[in-house]
């Protein structure tokens, strides 16, 4: 059993970085995630020698990540929505040059400067591109402070396994809330680096270079095909989700991160009222568990998707479900967190007793 602590989501994320043997963090302050940089500034360097640098902007931080990760180091940055928007070009370059790293988005309400309150409006930006070109970020959605810790380690493992950037897509509520967490033990920092890393040309061997530029279309297409083959492997092997009570369910509530937590409470209320409701919580948003929704859809009377946005993940749910069962959406925007009662209300008005088994 690891050390147990009561911690704020952002601080737990920072603590997990130190313990994962992270070599560097480059970041720029933005609410609701500034605690990450603050915590690391206090704790990290003195404990593991990890480099912590306050960059001049999110554009600079993501490009510092590119340089550092290109030397094979475990490095991370975090930000919230407007800052993540600034990182999109850099993320595309990281994906193009196949450089592994972990980035966390503590999503706040938008568009524009929006609000500092929690939201899930960055789903499309994260899993449908954001930056330019055909690439994917492996995306994990923590729904608890515990997962903020666990997914840092998992994130680095996946990033390194596939040489691809990983996004932890969470929100201001998970970042700010305090919960009990079990921390994993301190891991050593890396001392060996893979052959592709630019750590100085080895004597008697070819130099290495990292680039996403291939000016000849024939070569660029081959590079793209290579990336697509990698993404198919990710889709085969890395789908993660949680299901509760779906075996006997007549209806499914679904959502990710904070949305899923609220759905869980709503499911309990619905069950107490005698409605057989189950829950699907995708943990990996890319790759997305399309098959799970497709196979569940055939045996339920309807699915209610709940998000803190205008309806984004619901596009993927509908794509999976097709017309096998009705898919309803309920969401709030602008930093408003939907209550379980609102969800029940929407469920009873719009989904209950609709469709056929």
């Amino acid at each position: 059993m690891g050390e147990i602590k009561l911690m704020k989501g952002n601080e737990a994320l920072a603590e997990a970085m130190i313990r994962a043997g992270c070599d560097g963090y480059f970041g720029y302050p933005i609410t609701p995630q500034s605690e990450v940089l603050e915590y690391l500034s206090r704790e990290a360097t003195k404990r593991t020698g990890m480099v912590v640098l306050q960059a001049e902007s999110e554009i600079a931080s993501i490009n510092m990540i590119y340089g550092a990760a290109g030397c094979g180091r475990r490095v991370m940055t975090t930000s919230s929505s407007p800052g993540i928007s600034l990182m999109q070009e850099g993320l595309s370059y990281l994906a193009g040059a196949e450089i592994p790293c972990v980035v966390a988005n503590i999503n706040r309400g938008g568009p524009g400067l929006g609000t500092i309150q929690p939201a899930q409006g960055d789903y499309f930006q994260t899993v449908k591109g954001g930056g330019h070109g055909d690439y994917h970020l492996i995306t994990l959605a923590p729904s608890s402070v515990q997962e903020m810790v666990d997914f840092v380690k998992l994130g680095f493992d996946l990033a390194e396994k596939y040489r691809n950037p990983v996004m932890l897509l969470t929100d201001g509520a998970i970042g700010q809330m305090m919960e009990k967490v079990e921390l994993f033990d301190q891991m050593p920092r890396k001392t060996k680096f893979e052959d592709w890393c630019t750590t100085g040309k080895p004597e008697g061997e070819d130099r290495r270079y990292l680039t996403s530029l291939y000016i000849k279309p024939e070569k660029m297409e081959q590079i793209n095909l290579g990336l697509q083959a990698k993404y198919r492997k990710v889709e085969e092997n890395e789908i993660r989700y949680e299901t509760i009570n779906i075996e006997d369910a007549d209806y499914i509530f679904t959502g990710y991160g904070l949305g899923a937590r609220i759905c869980m409470k709503a499911m309990e209320i619905a069950r107490a009222k005698g409605h057989k409701v189950g829950l699907i919580r995708p943990i990996s948003l890319y790759p997305f568990p399309y098959d799970l929704y497709a196979s569940t859809a055939g045996r339920v009377k309807g699915i209610l998707d709940v998000e803190l946005n205008a309806g984004q993940m619901v596009w993927d749910v509908r794509y999976a479900v097709k017309d096998k069962t009705p898919v309803e959406f309920y969401g709030r925007m602008g930093g408003i967190i939907p209550s379980p009662d609102e969800i029940i209300d929407h469920f009873e008005k719009h989904l209950l007793n609709r469709g056929t088994k």
Partner: protein, 268 residues
């Protein structure tokens, strides 16, 4: 996963018969690859590459050096410079170099950037790396124009100078003044060495090479950021013959961008 290998780069054959020992007056340093450079005839980029790599070779730092290529005409620098390299996004070379150097403080790191890359889109990254006193070398190629995108105005374009986006000459009233970013950077305490050089004559090439060597020595001592600006030409986009373009460097560029050391560290 995609892997970059030397085989991806064009094969190039040499007529062995001319390589007899009595013909050898010069050897290319092993820090340059055998790839033919793509630069236009007369362009200063090739010379700047060569002296930079001669310095790395002479100091025996090939396995200790990591270079950052920009977006600009020298985007393919990693095809020619035979050291580990990373290709950065447009303007972000100083941020990328910061990431590299902070992870490996005892390695030698340089960026190689054009004026658009360094002094327009990348101004913030340049100034803040300088202000943090990052211990790497910035090689700054000032040709007064955007070469790669074929001849638009750069922050360094001279007053009255023609470009495709200042077709009647740069009007400072509406387009602003040429930015002497080297002079600006020299004001920052984090900056150790700022020098402005040229490569249009053999004497200048020698001086520019000496400046690069100084910069590597200062980097070894971790004195702060070093910037070697090379004032150079762009025959194709200036729409001039190579010699004519060198004359323009001499007659127009250098009087505005005066050569010499702007800041030098006191070395004990």
């Amino acid at each position: 996963m995609n892997q970059n290998t030397t085989a991806d780069i064009q094969e190039h054959t040499v007529d062995e018969s001319i390589c007899s020992s009595e013909n050898l007056v010069y050897t290319k340093p092993q820090t340059l690859t055998d790839d033919p450079m793509h630069y236009c005839p007369g362009c200063g980029h090739g010379t700047a590459h060569k002296i930079l790599m001669e310095v790395v070779d002479e100091l025996g730092l090939q396995s200790q050096t990591i270079g950052i290529a920009p977006v600009g005409c020298s985007v393919f620098a990693y095809h020619y410079l035979n050291v580990d390299m990373q290709e950065a996004a447009h303007g972000r070379a100083c941020a990328v170099a910061t990431g590299v150097k902070r992870m490996m403080p005892d390695k030698y790191v340089f960026t190689y950037q054009g004026d658009g890359d360094l002094a327009a889109i990348g101004t913030a990254e340049t100034i803040h790396a300088a202000n943090r006193g990052e211990n790497f070398l910035v090689v700054f190629i000032n040709n007064g124009i955007y070469g790669m995108t074929s001849g638009q105005m750069a922050p360094t374009t001279l007053p009255g100078m023609f470009s495709t986006t200042s077709p009647y000459g740069r009007d400072v009233e509406t387009m602003g003044y040429p930015l002497k970013i080297a002079d600006l950077l020299a004001l920052l305490p984090g900056v150790a060495y700022v020098t402005r050089q040229a490569v249009h004559t053999p004497a200048n090439v020698r001086k520019a090479k000496k400046a690069m060597k100084n910069a590597f020595e200062y980097q070894k001592k971790k004195l702060g950021l070093c910037l070697v600006e090379i004032v150079t030409n762009c025959p194709s986009n200036w729409k001039m013959e190579p010699l004519e373009s060198n004359q323009f460097v001499n007659d127009k560029m250098i009087p505005f961008y005066q050569l010499g050391d702007i800041k030098k560290p006191e070395v004990k």
